[in-house]
């Protein structure tokens, strides 16, 4: 659809909620303060793997100002998890990572909380610790979960242990095709654990209401999953739990997967409030957060590809070892996605990949921005350059040789609808400085130790449930929108108001999007998976159209015409072509009080229908290419990114500035993972860099200007042809930078991060430093 058809969508007005954010109004979870609230704190395991012999809380309970001390004994014997129920809200019998919650305290002040936590006596029997997932799979490794069975779908004859889940890609006959290939390239890549490090710490606040219901405030991306898990883990009927979403100071999936992401601070807080009979609030300390909440897992990626001399890919054989940490968390989903994506997004006639998601004594895998994708892409897109080098082909040309077209299948996607991959490659090549001469791309002239790198990516939005929207037209013609997705710089502040304003002919200023409250908002799985615009965007549009239909039906009676003849422009409902024949939105919405009570539009994103549609007509997933020029300091190993371009097909951008913001932010996160970010864990399972002093993240000095180009013409499944934009830009950066280093120095670095120390070591090993 062309942009000109619309009045509001496709423009970039100021974000809703901008003013309160710039004047410092206390709107975030951390700014909450309940009347008579106590402070809550959590005692965390000091061992990465141990049996709990006993817990004695008697001394802690005696301290003046302590109102409640809770352990697993105070909660029902119920486990939680996303697909594998392998975890308690407070550890029972065993701890499995250093940071596992063991007990919790509610007291008058944070100082008393600290004092009480120190007085809780836990007797542990330390067990052997396993940190490396490949070690954890060996028969002699310690067992993490005695009562979790191995996955049923493991290949026959495979002897492993501590495997949480297994994913497989089986396309064609990869062994046979590999044997027939002209050139075979076999490599191993490795990525490290990173923490999403949203700036606002996790919080939870809970209060028992006079009628016995429990209200919980959470800065979670998924208030409804949080409600469900509190209900289950504490044995409280679902309708007695109310979760109110506080505004989020960042999430990036780290606050995404229900209570898993926060290591259950919400039910622990509710348990303390029930026990203390007073409101309780828990605020995680940033260093505590780094060791206890969910992370982007490290992965080891074995990748072998066979190609013909002309560059046609014949086969891939691979293996993924995906580290889920002490519990399943989001590991099965992220590891499964990583396994699929190791098959790439190019034509791949034969492919055989085994993906093992493995328990280790580390913190738990979460759905961090593009879960599984960046890891796979680091291997896939570095490997593509290695193959191109072996073939003596230009990396861009080699990729273009293997791109799918509409109707083709790629690994994990039975049928593609439109394929923008080739166009993103060509545009990125031009933007980074390639000159097109005939059919050939000529690389720009570069300085000493400078290199050019290119990497592509794709992402799938079509996994997960639907979600609803309710659009109410008030008696003054203003509009109130209820959705189940929270605002963390995403669609409730940017895209949703535009969609509703577009469909109802009202100014954007007249649209209010209400924060999520599980007592009032429509159900939603959460602001996750690049699905904001697809799910809540579609639902809001349909709800606005439903409201408009109700308005037109009433106005048609008054204007003595057919509802189909009507339109709304500037809050006036008028007959098309006869604008004088009109009635104000205000009048119709007010009159509704006597007819239908209120104009309430309902919309829902129907995921079953969307999946069927995709099966019939193919997936319209987004594609991207990033390219950069990097200068390598061969004395220090330091990298300087001189230029960075990101070319994205996200269908139709509903709020282009917001889309750019998502792309630039996601790219920055993976540039951080490429250059410096890493949670470092020692052999005993202790995190060596929990605080921001030691956990390096890119500051403005390290970051290049990200030059974003949005391409058009490939409509997606979202409203107006939009595609999700929140995660895909995390996919290519790490390989783009590694490829630029290779281009500059001839040295291929296969383990992240590309920190000065690691780059220098690699250069020295190759005799290039």
């Amino acid at each position: 659809m062309a942009k000109a058809e619309f009045k509001v969508v496709g423009t970039s007005p100021a974000r809703k909620g901008g003013v309160e954010r710039v004047i410092g109004k206390g709107i975030y979870g951390i700014d909450l303060m309940l009347k008579d609230q106590l402070h809550g704190g959590i005692l965390r395991s000091q061992y990465a793997h141990a049996k709990i012999i006993s817990i004695d809380t008697s001394e802690a309970k005696k301290i003046p100002g302590v109102h409640a001390v809770v352990t697993a004994a105070d909660a029902p014997d119920v486990r939680y998890g996303r697909s594998y129920f392998d975890r308690y809200i407070l550890a029972r019998n065993k701890v499995r990572y250093m940071g596992d919650p063991v007990a919790a305290v509610a007291a008058d002040s944070p100082a008393v909380v600290k004092q009480a936590l120190k007085k809780i006596k836990v007797v542990y029997e330390p067990l052997p610790v396993v940190i490396d997932p490949e070690e954890a799979m060996k028969p002699e490794a310690p067992t993490l979960h005695e009562d979790m069975p191995l996955p049923k779908n493991l290949p026959e004859g495979v002897k492993v242990k501590n495997v949480c889940s297994f994913a497989a890609v089986r396309v064609g006959d990869a062994e046979k095709a590999m044997a027939e290939a002209d050139v075979v390239v076999n490599e191993v890549y490795e990525t490290k654990m990173i923490h999403p490090q949203y700036l606002e710490p996790r919080i939870a606040a809970a209060q028992v209401e006079p009628n016995g219901r429990i209200t919980v405030w959470a800065n979670s991306q998924g208030p409804f999953p949080v409600r469900q898990e509190i209900s289950k883990t504490l044995g409280i009927p679902l309708n007695n739990v109310r979760v109110i979403a506080a505004e989020l100071g960042g999430g990036f999936g780290g606050k995404g997967s229900g209570i898993t992401s926060g290591a259950a601070i919400e039910p622990i807080c509710a348990l303390l409030a029930m026990k203390a009979k007073r409101p309780v609030m828990i605020v995680l300390d940033k260093a505590e957060e780094t060791i206890s909440t969910t992370i982007r897992s490290g992965a080891k990626l074995y990748i072998k590809t066979g190609v013909k001399k002309d560059g046609t890919i014949m086969a891939r054989i691979g293996k993924v070892i995906y580290d889920t940490g002490g519990y399943s968390g989001f590991g099965a989903q992220a590891g499964g996605r990583c396994t699929n994506m190791l098959g790439g997004w190019y034509l791949m006639p034969n492919c055989h990949i085994d993906g093992y998601v493995v328990y280790t004594n580390k913190q738990v895998c979460g759905p961090v921005r593009g879960p599984g994708g960046p890891q796979a892409a680091f291997a896939v897109e570095s490997h593509m350059d290695s193959i191109a080098a072996k073939l003596d082909m230009d990396p861009g040309e080699f990729r273009l040789k293997n791109i799918p077209k509409a109707g083709d299948k790629i690994v994990g996607v039975p049928k593609l609808r439109d394929v923008s991959l080739g166009e993103t490659i060509k545009i990125a090549a031009e933007k980074i400085g390639y000159k097109k001469v005939g059919a050939q791309f000529i690389a720009p002239a570069l300085g000493k130790n400078q290199g050019i790198g290119i990497a592509t990516g794709s992402w799938i939005e079509s996994a997960g449930p639907g979600g609803g929207a309710v659009v109410k037209v008030n008696e003054d013609g203003s509009v109130t929108v209820h959705i189940g997705k929270i605002d963390m710089g995403t669609i409730p502040g940017f895209g949703i108001p535009l969609i509703v304003a577009e469909e109802l002919g009202v100014p954007v200023e007249d649209v209010t999007v209400v924060n999520v409250d599980t007592d009032a908002s429509p159900w939603d799985a959460g602001t996750v998976g690049s699905r904001g615009i697809l799910v809540a965007g579609t639902a809001s549009r349909l709800a606005a159209i439903d409201a408009r239909n109700q308005l037109f039906k009433m106005a048609a009676t008054q204007l003595e015409c057919s509802p189909e003849d009507l339109e709304i422009v500037n809050k006036q409902i008028r007959v098309k072509g006869t604008p004088a024949k009109s009635v104000s939105l205000e009048t119709v919405a007010t009159n509704a009080h006597n007819v239908i009570g209120e104009v309430i539009g309902r919309g829902y994103f129907d995921n079953v229908a969307a999946v069927a549609e995709e099966k019939a007509h193919g997936s319209s997933q987004p594609f991207t290419t990033h390219a950069c020029i990097v200068e390598v300091d061969t004395m220090t190993g330091n990298l300087k990114i001189l230029k960075y371009v990101a070319v994205h097909d996200i269908g139709f951008p509903i709020h282009p500035v917001a889309v750019e913001g998502q792309i630039e932010g996601a790219a920055a996160m993976s540039i951080g993972q490429a250059l410096c970010e890493q949670v470092i864990v020692d052999k005993d399972g202790r995190t060596m860099n929990p605080s921001f002093v030691d956990y390096l993240m890119p500051t403005i000095n390290m970051m290049p200007r990200i030059e974003t180009t949005l391409i058009h013409g490939y409509p997606g499944s979202g409203p107006y042809g939009a595609k999700g934009a929140g995660e895909i830009a995390c996919v290519p950066p790490m390989a783009a930078i590694a490829n630029a280093i290779y281009n500059a120095t001839g040295v291929r670095i296969k383990t992240l991060p590309l920190s000065p120390a690691n780059v220098l070591r690699a250069l020295k090993e190759a005799g290039k430093a």
Partner: protein, 154 residues
């Protein structure tokens, strides 16, 4: 040991008690309920808690409340003139530099301090002025745009 701290915040004289170990950030947020100054790393690394202290931007999380005695402090709450936003605040909104917004108060304070020092900052001066502020949402593009726009408008 509790001490009484007398200080000027956003032009207003304030007097309140604090422990000797209380940080300026805790004093602002928990005692005086100035919630606009944000708590994040508590180690002086991220800049979310930046306030202007006698004309200079500082990390309030690693400054003692006691040091505020007799000082002049500007927080994010002190920038707007009634309903009229400060040009730096307006520029952050206009350029789309506010995503989650959690780092925003710290940035706006750092930038105000920069533009109080120099009306026409160079690209290097801009980078230097906000090199102690971390943003995880924007990738910094739109923050640079906001600072340049604010400098133009001032």
């Amino acid at each position: 040991m509790s001490i009484t701290i007398t200080t000027t915040i956003n032009g207003k004289a304030v007097s309140a008690g604090a422990e000797a170990s209380t940080s300026l950030l805790e004093f602002l947020r928990d005692t005086l309920e100035y919630k606009g100054t944000k708590l994040c790393c508590n180690t002086g690394e991220c800049g979310a808690c930046t306030v202007i202290y006698n004309g200079k931007p500082i990390n309030s999380c690693v400054t003692l409340a006691a040091d505020a005695n007799g000082a002049e402090i500007t927080t994010i709450e002190g920038l707007a003139d009634g309903d009229k936003l400060h040009p730096v605040q307006q520029a952050f909104i206009d350029t789309g530099a506010v995503q989650c917004g959690y780092c925003t108060p710290g940035y706006i304070i750092s930038v105000k301090a920069l533009l109080d020092r120099t009306k026409k900052p160079t690209a290097e001066e801009i980078e230097e002025a906000v090199s102690g502020n971390i943003c995880r949402c924007t990738g910094y593009n739109k923050i640079v745009d906001a600072i340049q726009l604010a400098a133009q408008r001032l």
